[in-house]
Symmetry: C2
Subunit: 246 residues, 2 copies
């Protein structure tokens, strides 16, 4: 915080615009999907992009992210307030926006299957797209999206993040499908079950059995997300253990 030009005069330096970009993930149809919007306005108009927008003068980046998410998806405010939002990193390449200097704070958000997006206020349209089919995107959003996916994949290992993809009550089979879909692997069901239940604070039992996870088979017990953030011990990916680089 040194090197202050001319003692903090508000116009002694080039102004920066600050935006947020959101990689909103869900698990649907056995695939990791991401929410994209079609740009209506000029830079990259007609291209698909991550939702996002400018941070307002009296707003933190986190608050801006939730506000933009509500605007673009039409989700009720309390849902948006509750969902898991995670700051990824900030992209500040001087040329990342062709018009002017824009510094963007990127977030990853995780939502359960349910919501179908309606066209947002500013975007021409919004829809879910399989991660594999998302590129190419506007600006440097290809890179942001890849970083976001890497982060989510890694965090499933050592946090209870996977429950954010599930509805409030879920079966262990559904939770396992989240892991298998995001990691692109298969997991041994008995071992998965034991590991999850042996990890304190990961899930806690709910009441009233149900069947779900498919139309057939024995009804499964329901669980809610536990309070724990970190998992002890972690749930490691089969091939190549250890968290990846961030």
């Amino acid at each position: 915080m040194t090197n202050v030009p001319t003692g903090y005069d508000k116009h002694a330096f080039e102004p920066f615009a600050v935006t947020v970009d959101l990689a909103v993930f869900t698990v649907r149809a056995d695939a990791l999907q991401v929410l994209l919007v079609e740009r209506a306005l000029d830079p990259y108009a007609g291209s698909w992009a991550l939702p996002g927008g400018f941070v307002l003068p009296r707003e933190s980046a986190e608050a801006a992210a939730r506000r933009e998410l509500a605007e673009e998806t039409g989700l009720p405010g309390d849902v948006v307030e509750a969902l898991h939002l995670e700051q990824l990193r900030t992209y500040s390449d001087p040329d990342r926006d062709p018009r002017m200097r824009v510094v963007s704070v990127a977030f990853a958000a995780l939502v359960p299957d349910l919501p179908e997006p309606r066209a947002g206020s500013d975007a021409a349209q919004a829809r879910w797209v399989r991660y594999a089919d998302a590129e190419p995107l506007a600006f440097d959003h290809d890179r942001i999206l890849r970083d976001a996916r890497d982060r989510v994949r890694a965090k499933l290992e050592y946090t209870g993040l996977a429950t954010a993809f599930c509805p409030p009550e879920f079966t262990l089979g559904e939770l396992q499908q989240v892991y298998e879909t995001v990691w692109g692997t298969t997991l041994d069901r008995p071992n998965f079950r034991r590991k999850v239940l042996a990890t304190p604070g990961f899930v806690e039992p709910a009441d009233g059995p149900r069947r779900r996870t498919a139309g057939r088979g024995k009804p499964a017990a329901l669980y809610r997300a536990g309070g724990a953030g970190a998992l002890h011990p972690p749930l490691l990916r089969p091939g190549g253990k250890g968290g990846g680089p961030r």
Copy 2:
């Protein structure tokens, strides 16, 4: 990137200042130490703070971080270019700076013991301080510093980051001391040695034995940092395995 006010007019929105803040760590005298500067200018003048400064108009945040680091520590340019710099997160609370709207991108940097800082160009003075003795700092730097330490502690588990605290050639005893100092634990030497050598790409042997790590004992073999970013398998902390929350 939607919700563009008045089609991108450069002055249609409130300007933001963008800064970088640096948590520069080293391991000296059996303690994790951090580089602090005494503020010369007005907001919090006389207080200690993390080094940092404004991002210039044609500069990325990463470039600004390296430039500021070179200015404040007097390290030669090639050293600064090579050292490990890691983006932490961005702090954007509207009231984090009493004067105006400042969004700050925080970085953690890791350096070996050697350099003693000289007083920087803008700071009244700069010096190494034990992490435990650092607070209170100006602005929200207490929080940034804590986040930075948590991140470094966690990343020692699953990356080869610890070698960034060591000189180009180091003994396994020195590397172990880094882990013990940063984690505040003791490790079993034979097991530490085996784990490190069994992890591909963590370290690779150098030539010519030396003694170091202390004045006495059998001379130890020297190693260089290997190319691997992620550690397979990870080197877990004794108490409470798994990566902590980030």
